[in-house]
């Protein structure tokens, strides 16, 4: 139990919009069971409205669960208000106090706990050094850039040495370059400090970059929980496959099933997909997914590969890669990404060419819908 | 939930105060309208006589409508005078608009009583205007006509209200998206046409807000009529004051006040439908 920094047990959160009309209730979080291991960089990933921010606020204590229980470091939090919980939050809009300078902002939590003045000074100095704002103590928030404000917010939260740090899409307001730099900084700080980070974002690339574990959420439910590699290579369902990275989805009918593999009929071609934990019956419709960079275009199907025939629709050159949009015989489109200047046996194609889209069997995944 | 408790704690004290010193007195006034007298045994007798008297007293009615007319005149004139001011500030004053608006408002916040008093001095028969005109030879003897008349009441109150009426118009005009005017010009409108078709209609909620903001309180005016109104300038508010302070007929006075209160509430209701309350609020915040 105490290996988890945070645990949600059967937590549901309903928002009823006045007047008691049941049909207007919004289930932001549905019977969630989640254990967040200690010392990890854990991310809640999903589109807007999926319930990730609500989950964060439930942990922080700004919302109370409609049912279920939340534990932090093994202790139940139902009766504990947010200002007493051992968590701190970095808000999306930073929420720095405009009437206090940076040092007093960072010291706020310490002042509340009546930490002695010199101790406060020392801790504030430490925190500001951690976020590389060592001599900004006397500045006012309005004098800082967005990136600097965000780091002050981080320092203000970390200085209290919480058991869990909650971050609510903190990098959303920054421009691309700064965001990418901050992502690495946050990751390093988490490794350095060792505190459990619970991070909320809708940006899947960000999640993949920073996280030790990711929970993909949609509509109040966790669809898959795993480390970035697993989520990327083995998405459990269509939503996760589609949300994380780019995916092709190809439909077919089950032709035959064996222990090791399943044969799918796509129009008049047969494709073998390695058996997964998906239960299918003969004749049933099924979808498999494959990443664009795992596909290749060839004139003739090589040995030990799977292939489908198609016609090249578009050729898009983007410097590092060439993207081919190929229409299969079934009418579906797939995207194939080929790295430029990589190996000599890469063939070039143009619009209108008849090709075989090929891939290695291990790179395709059968999906549960 | 915690939230509700905090909300209640915050709203509680102001609500209580408003109830005890605003709503409760109004309720008591309603009760008083049925009493036979203020003290003694008459205090506890309930009767509809006051209402009967009120409804049959043509003098009261006449004064009620006369006051309404005076207030209406004041509000209309104030709005007409205030509109060009607000327009100038928003469309022609550029960056100075807020400073200039402040300049306009500051004297308006000085004591109402003193400003009326000042006008009384200026308009009076031994006052400034008369002595000026006399010394210039424009008139032969001091004219008492400038003061103690209905016109004096109207002039004085217009003077008081114009800056306040200008505020919501200023706010409403300021909110108009300049792109709309550019679009109108682009589509062929001459400046005055653009004004009539775009600016004026969009500013009407602000105009309505300012109009009612002046109209409703002046219905009950009694101070200005007392100071500069003379006999012909008395308004409904003076009647009420008279009932309470001189005739000591509080029940009757209550009935009269209630009649005005009903009118006020009706007008407020119309105001919330017609005008933008946010304009009024926005205006006061400027």
């Amino acid at each position: 139990m105490t290996d988890y920094a945070v645990e949600l047990c059967n937590v549901t959160k309903v928002f009823s919009s006045g007047r008691g009309a049941k049909s207007e209730d919004v289930y932001a979080v549905k019977e969630m069971n989640l254990g967040i291991p200690r010392g990890q960089f854990f991310t809640l990933l999903g589109p807007s409205g999926c319930g990730k921010t609500t989950t964060l606020r439930l942990i922080a204590g700004f919302e109370t669960p409609s049912s279920g229980e939340i534990f932090i470091q093994g202790k139940p939090m139902s009766k504990i208000p947010p200002n007493v919980r051992p968590v701190n939050t970095v808000f999306q809009n930073y929420a720095l106090f405009p009437h206090m300078n940076v040092a007093r902002n960072v010291a706020f939590g310490l002042a509340i706990k009546r930490v002695p003045r010199d101790e406060q000074k020392r801790l504030v100095k430490e925190a500001l050094e951690l976020v590389q704002l060592a001599d900004m103590g006397k500045r006012m928030p309005s004098q800082l850039s967005g990136g600097q404000q965000q780091r002050v917010a981080l320092a203000r939260a970390l200085v209290n040495k919480p058991a869990v740090l909650l971050l609510d899409e903190p990098l959303g307001a920054l421009d691309l370059k700064l965001r990418k730099a901050m992502q690495m900084e946050l990751k390093h700080i988490q490794e350095q400090v060792g505190i459990t980070f619970v991070y909320v974002t809708h940006d899947q690339e960000e999640a993949l970059t920073m996280s030790d574990f990711i929970a993909v959420m949609s509509d109040g439910l966790i669809l898959q929980l795993g480390d970035p590699t697993t989520l990327y290579k083995k998405p459990a369902n269509k939503f996760v496959a589609d949300f994380i990275g780019e995916s092709n989805f190809i439909r077919g009918t089950v032709d035959s099933i064996t222990q090791k593999s399943t044969k799918l009929r796509v129009l008049d071609e047969l494709v073998t997909v390695d058996a997964m934990e998906v239960n299918l019956a003969k004749g049933q419709a099924a979808t498999f997914t494959i990443r664009p960079e795992k596909m290749m275009l060839k004139t003739k199907q090589p040995v030990s590969t799977e292939a489908l025939s198609g016609t090249v629709q578009e050729v898009i050159y983007i410097g590092t890669d060439t993207r081919y949009i190929v229409t299969l015989q079934s009418g579906e489109s797939v995207v194939v990404r080929v790295q430029n200047g990589c190996s000599p046996d890469v063939e070039q194609f143009s619009k209108g060419d008849l090709v075989k889209v090929v891939w290695l069997p291990k790179d395709a995944r059968l999906l549960a819908d | 939930m915690e939230n509700r408790r905090r909300f209640a704690s915050l709203m509680g004290p102001p609500s209580l105060y408003l109830f005890l010193l605003f709503l409760l007195p109004l309720g008591l006034m309603f009760v008083y309208s049925f009493r036979a007298g203020i003290t003694g045994p008459a205090h506890d007798v309930f009767t509809l006589d006051n209402y009967r008297s009120f409804l049959t007293n043509s003098h009261f009615h006449r004064l009620f409508w006369r006051s309404a007319l005076i207030s209406l005149t004041i509000s209309v004139i104030s709005s007409l005078l205030a509109y060009p001011l607000a327009y100038y500030l928003v469309f022609q004053a550029g960056r100075n608009r807020v400073t200039l608006m402040t300049l306009l408002i500051i004297p308006a916040w000085t004591s109402y009583l003193l400003r009326v008093f000042a006008w009384k001095l200026i308009l009076g028969s031994s006052g400034l205007l008369n002595s000026l005109l006399l010394s210039l030879g424009v008139i032969e003897k001091a004219s008492p006509m400038l003061i103690y008349s209905r016109s004096a009441v109207i002039v004085t109150l217009v003077y008081v209200w114009v800056p306040f009426v200008a505020l919501p118009i200023f706010a409403a005009l300021g909110r108009i998206d300049r792109n709309l005017l550019e679009a109108a010009a682009d589509l062929g409108c001459k400046p005055w046409e653009a004004f009539l078709r775009v600016t004026l209609p969009l500013s009407l909620p602000g105009v309505a807000a300012g109009f009612f903001f002046a109209f409703i309180p002046t219905l009950g005016e009694f101070v200005t009529p007392l100071l500069v109104g003379g006999a012909s300038g008395q308004m409904y508010g003076n009647l009420i004051q008279d009932q309470f302070m001189r005739a000591l007929n509080w029940p009757m006075g209550s009935v009269m006040s209630l009649a005005m209160l009903v009118a006020v509430i009706t007008l407020v209701f119309i105001l919330t439908r017609l005008a933008s309350v946010s304009d009024l609020v926005g205006g006061l915040n400027e």
Binding site: F62, P81, N83, V84, F91, N93, A95, F97, F108, I112, A157 | E2, F7, L10, M11, P14, Y17, L18, F22, P25, L28, P84, L85, Y88, R95, R97, L100, L104, I105, I106, P107, W109, T110, S111, L113, L114, K120, L121, I122, S126, L132, Y159, F212, F213, I216, P217, G220, L227, G237, I240, Q241, F244, S254, S257, V264, V268, L271, V277, L284, N285
Partner: protein
């Protein structure tokens, strides 16, 4: 684009109106120094005697004292209640908000005679004698809408999760209000206080009903208006009051703009 001519019809009109607005005040100030008991041109000579007479007038000083006290008291209460109401309205989206807002804003448009009359009835029913104190209680009601508006205007200007951030860092809700919300609102609080003070200090209509013999300054002033010989002294008093009010209002306006987000300026 409008041409920024200094003397366009609009600016001339504006100037004219401004002159008319300031004229009575200026005239009062000028005549307060005039060595004559009649307010006519030409001016007779410079004197400070009327100001001197103000000091000696005990009734006036007593009325002034009353006005200062109830001004201070009613503004304090109105500002506090207005702040509580403003926080409730701006930060909480719960039912009852609009009713509260409607009722607290209503005094803005209700004729003062109705306040005077209904409060007179109230103090009679509860057995309270007419006094300046009663007027002070009434002044809170007419001031609350202004305090509410000024404070809520300030509150919407900064992010609404600062209280949450403070609580996240360990403050209780009320601690968050005290340490974060109130300090940020302080210019607006002062502005509201000063505005309410001005309103109470100058208020005549309601006071005339319920002060009885315990005059406030406007009531005292009014009572002097029918004595021609007292006129110059009244003029001197008027000059002082109006000048002070204008200075206070200028300061209040400046306060309201301090700390307002840049988007709102100009």
């Amino acid at each position: 684009m409008n041409k920024h001519r200094i003397f366009s019809p609009g600016s001339i009109y504006f100037l004219l109106v401004c002159v008319l607005l300031y004229l009575p005040i200026l005239l009062l100030i000028i005549f307060s120094f005039n060595d004559s008991t009649r307010l006519v041109f030409p001016l007779k000579g410079f004197t400070l005697q009327w100001y001197g007479k103000l000091y000696e007038n005990r009734e006036l000083l007593k009325a002034l004292g009353n006005s200062l006290m109830i001004g201070f008291g009613s503004s304090l209460i109105a500002t506090i209640l207005g702040t509580m109401g403003a926080i409730a309205i701006v930060r909480f989206k719960l039912p009852g908000r609009s009713v509260f807002l409607a009722v607290s804003a209503l005094p803005l448009v209700i004729p003062y005679v109705i306040f005077g009359v209904s409060l007179l009835i109230l103090i009679n029913e509860v057995g309270m004698p007419p006094s300046a104190f009663a007027a002070g209680l009434a002044h809170v009601i007419i001031s609350i809408p202004y305090a509410l508006l000024i404070i809520s205007s300030r509150l919407v200007g900064f992010p609404d999760n600062l209280e949450e951030a403070a609580m996240d860092l360990g403050a209780s809700y009320w601690g968050a209000l005290l340490k974060v919300t109130i300090p940020i609102c302080s210019p607006a609080l002062l502005a509201a206080f000063l505005l309410c003070f001005t309103i109470s200090f100058d208020e005549y209509a309601i006071a005339s009903f319920i002060v009885g013999t315990d005059a406030t300054l406007p009531v005292y002033l009014f009572s002097q208006l029918r004595f021609p010989t007292r006129l110059p002294m009244v003029v001197a008093l008027a000059a002082v009051l109006m000048t002070v009010t204008m200075a206070v209002m200028l300061f209040t306006e400046w306060l309201r703009r301090v700390g307002q987000s840049p988007a709102k300026k100009g």
